[in-house]
Assembly symmetry: C2
Homo-oligomer: 600 residues x 2
């Protein structure tokens, strides 16, 4: 009994930490108070205003009825509030994910049909299951394989692609393809069908939005405070929606043939049942995986950046679970795949959201809008939504990043460029896969020809540097070769070539010291190469020595019999290798001289 009572509290603490890991809400809800509620409420009102036009627009971008975007902005937010770790991430429909959703579903279903909508919730279900599973398996590190240049290239290319996809909507032509070429051809082919009233309205909305984005200095000159000016600027899309909807109603634009959102049933999200058809699941599995990964990376990068600013921490693995649960919620409430939204998250942060409760409050706001304002939304012109997508998509384009990356590293630039070109030609999925493949291949190619340096002693110090870059002492009998890479299968043979080349150049060499300060791993292939080098050097009367072998590498070498066969020694530092070998060679030379003296 006493044994248990002693260990129980500790068990309970551990249990509580575990619960907090899986239910981050337990870390803030007990401390929630009126002050926090006030701050969250302000942020929620602003985000609700923002989310309405975005959610409608992204649903249309995804090929769905506009209302699906609002449905996807309710329960998913509440699910994320329960399981997410970021205090400011605003979850919901997002441009790139919507584009990928449309690209995945269009070959299978006709846009606007019930089957298409069921495809969207099935995609959300699969995406949710994949994210949640990756989170439970702690696979958050997978996201690291998408390098910054690839993500940056993907954003730039998607921005262009998304904007281009909306030009048709702006002209009143209707749906285009998912590659840049298809989209341009679609517009060129249907040029004669341009609906001029729609185009006029769309261009006006576009101009208004662009001007609003740049209006902050002018507003401040008019006497507005900086914060207020920023707030008014951000309300640009809401104002565009309000103005064009009013116009559309007043002038009865639908009668002129201007496409509008149309009747929306004024009720909360109906429950939906995703398809369980295994053939459809197989078809959607790869798109769902890529949507999950791209959405996750975007969300987690954003959440990490904002958390760092406030000295909070987020857990990538738990974020997977949070986003997964949000998608599962979307799957059963007639929604669409969701993830963290760049623009709304930044606004949520700036507006002072303090806890994930802000997201749940925004979900309630969206519910109120659906119940009360849908009659107004019916007159909202599609062209206004197209204009607002174009403006926000263009903010994804980051051309300076292209130049910066080119200057810093051509191979990173190559990965970026291939991502952009493939996204343009084949869509986002192909772009992501090509980008990852090229990044990995280039990294392996780079490490397969590692940098090595013959080093010498900086006179009067214990420091050894590259003889090509520094004025360092060389010893003809002792070769010091520093290897600047982990030794593994891709470069094991290259190491052999390098060593054999060096001993061919230095005929007087008696000892070779491999300096392993940069060797973090010697795998089984490299071990075989070292054994071959050791044997071949022994044939040539050269002893192989190692220096500065790292602890973990040494531990592993001790598990093989390599050290038993090693013709030389292992030294702690290059300096000790150099002094001891020099002494030994001097001793041998003296003994040799004495014995030849004795013989003479």
């Amino acid at each position: 009994m006493s044994r248990w009572s002693a260990s129980e509290p500790r068990e309970r603490i551990r249990l509580r930490a575990r619960i907090a890991g899986y239910f981050p809400i337990t870390t803030w809800l007990p401390y929630y108070n009126r002050h926090l509620l006030g701050e969250d409420l302000i942020a929620a009102v602003i985000v609700t205003l923002m989310v309405i036009p975005q959610a409608l627009a992204y649903a249309i971008l995804a090929g769905l009825p506009a209302i699906a975007g609002l449905y996807a902005s309710m329960l998913p937010l509440i699910a994320y509030t329960l399981f997410g770790t970021s205090r400011t991430l605003a979850v919901g429909p997002m441009a790139i994910v919507s584009l990928m959703t449309a690209a995945a579903l269009s070959p299978l279903f006709v846009s606007g049909t019930v089957a298409y909508s069921q495809g969207a919730v099935t995609l959300a279900l699969l995406s949710g299951l994949i994210l949640a599973l990756m989170g439970l398996l702690r696979l958050g590190f997978f996201a690291n394989f998408l390098s910054h240049p690839v993500v940056s290239g993907l954003l730039t290319a998607s921005g262009v692609l998304i904007a281009a996809s909306q030009i048709a909507g702006l002209m009143g032509i209707g749906g285009a393809g998912f590659t840049l070429v298809d989209q341009l051809l679609h517009i060129l082919r249907h040029l004669e069908k341009v609906h001029w009233p729609t185009l006029g309205l769309g261009l006006a909305a576009l101009l208004f939005l662009l001007l609003m984005r740049r209006s902050a200095p002018a507003l401040r000159r008019l006497g507005l405070a900086a914060g207020t000016a920023t707030f008014v600027v951000r309300l640009g899309p809401v104002m565009a929606v309000a103005i064009t909807t009013s116009l559309s109603w007043a002038l009865d634009l639908p009668a002129l043939g201007v496409a509008v959102v149309g009747e929306i049933p004024a009720h909360l999200p109906p429950l939906s049942l995703p398809s369980l058809n295994p053939a459809l699941w197989r078809e959607l599995l790869l798109p769902a995986f890529l949507i999950s990964v791209v959405g996750f990376i975007e969300s987690v990068s954003l959440a990490q950046m904002l958390a760092a600013r406030r000295r909070e921490r987020i857990s990538p693995d738990q974020e997977l679970i949070g986003l997964g649960s949000a998608n599962l919620a979307a799957a059963f409430t007639s929604g669409m795949p969701v993830t963290g939204s760049l623009s709304r998250t930044v606004i949520n942060f700036d507006a002072g959201a303090r806890t994930p409760a802000a997201g749940a409050l925004a979900a309630l706001g969206v519910g109120l809008v659906i119940l009360c304002l849908t009659p107004l939304i019916a007159y909202l012109p599609i062209a206004t939504l197209a204009a607002s997508i174009i403006v926000s998509a263009m903010t994804l384009v980051d051309l300076p990043a292209l130049k910066r990356t080119w200057r810093y590293s051509q191979s990173d630039f190559a990965a970026m460029l291939i991502t952009i070109v493939l996204t343009f030609l084949e869509g986002v999925e192909a772009g992501v896969m090509a980008g990852v493949g090229v990044s990995l291949a280039l990294y392996l190619y780079r490490t397969s020809r590692p940098h090595t340096a013959v080093v010498g002693r900086l006179p009067g110090t214990e420091h050894f540097r590259n003889v090509r870059r520094h004025d360092a002492e060389i010893d003809a009998e002792i070769g010091l070769l520093r290897i600047d890479e982990s030794l593994y299968f891709a470069n094991a043979r290259y190491l052999e070539d390098t060593v054999y080349g060096l001993i061919a150049d230095r005929p007087a060499m008696r000892h070779l010291v491999l300096i392993c300060s940069a060797v973090n791993l010697i795998d089984a292939s490299a071990l075989e190469s070292l054994e071959a080098i050791n044997a071949r050097l022994a044939d040539s009367q050269i002893a192989l020595n190692l220096a500065e072998v790292k602890g973990p590498v040494m531990d592993r070498l001790k598990k093989s019999d390599f050290l038993d066969h090693l013709s030389g020694e292992v030294y702690l530092s290059t300096y000790s290798a150099w002094t001891e070998l020099r002494h030994r060679l001097d001793d041998e030379a003296r003994t040799g001289a004495e014995s030849s003296d004795a013989a003479s």
Copy 2:
């Protein structure tokens, strides 16, 4: 004029070096003499004796008429003599390549038909083109991506698979599948069809071959010289062929139903035209690529090992061209895909082959055999060939390597095991691809969580080591963090986590020094992470310093504006960073103390 005459010789020397690169034969043919011819001739005779049973057996293993193996042992050898760089590599049919040939062709054609033979020469053509193209593009380094454990696993699994595939032949049942399960099921299903005379003959041949392999000590006790004993042992397969063929002829075994090689036309290889059907090419492209890579890796490893023993050098890129031309020769002379043969190459080396001419001489020997000895070969029982394949396939199995690899590195072992299991279950192609994929994934996973160490000064030295492994001094205000891996996209985020964790643990820290002695690359993703770390540390009043940055890494950093924003300095060595920062902090403390003294 004079300008040209002065530069002409140098041009000519460069041209000759280039010719020698592409036609290595020019490096030895001008110096060929009667002495070298004598040595090459002896080796050629021995290799010719060896090649007959092997070539017949491997052709049957590939599902081809036995004669195709002999055809593939003539012109390909002469092509390799012209373009290859190894002086001892014996080119021709080889067990694993034959197995892969059968696996590629069996789903498409019926074994033994003309279409099947045309498929084999088409596979040889594609393989030749792929190898030659890779050689011209200098892609020899590609071979490095097959790690030693994967190759070793592949050999072991193929050995078992090849031996198992011959058990059916030994029993007189006939062709089995290409996975271990298929083969075992095939034998079990056809057990009642076992042809007892064939099985008896096969088991006798198997026993004879196994005894011969172990007979060297006994032969030496009988008074034979060591060299002669080895030679006699190696002739085991030839003797088995001679004895069983004689028996088969004397007892008219074919009349009893014992399968024999049968009538062979006594003429030199007929010309063949590979198929140019694009659909077939597409079908065979991946198998041809894998056959090329596996064959190339086997050949080049072997050639390098033997060249190193004699201080010769081979060029992997030129080897690609040599093996490519051999396959092209096989494609147009009714052959099959070829590569370097392990067993014959070792014999060629031991028998004292001095130049690639030995291969061409062996090709002439095979020609003589075809012209004069085919009537005898007709009576050669298939079971004898099956027995000789089983015995030589078992030499590929290397079980100690499994244990050795397990002890040294579990992740290398995992790659090896997956290769073996996949080869058993799905065949050699699947095994190779899975092995490469798993090796790469494991390597990336390992480097994505790099080893880092907080280091301290070994008292009284300029040397800094891990404080967990050594009794080193720690300075509360100066954090020294050594990063034991190149910084790239896969571990950039992990670095941020590590640094933020460290500064959270050490509240007194004023300076953080990242020791980059093991950082061989900072890619664009890692640069962004460093910029983020720099900014965040600056917020916390901690300066970020770098030490021991390698030359190439520094060159690249200078191309970005990171160094302009860096809150600290870049130091040549950890020691100088430590002493200078210590001085500076002491100065600041003194000034602070003085000013507070003055104030008091």
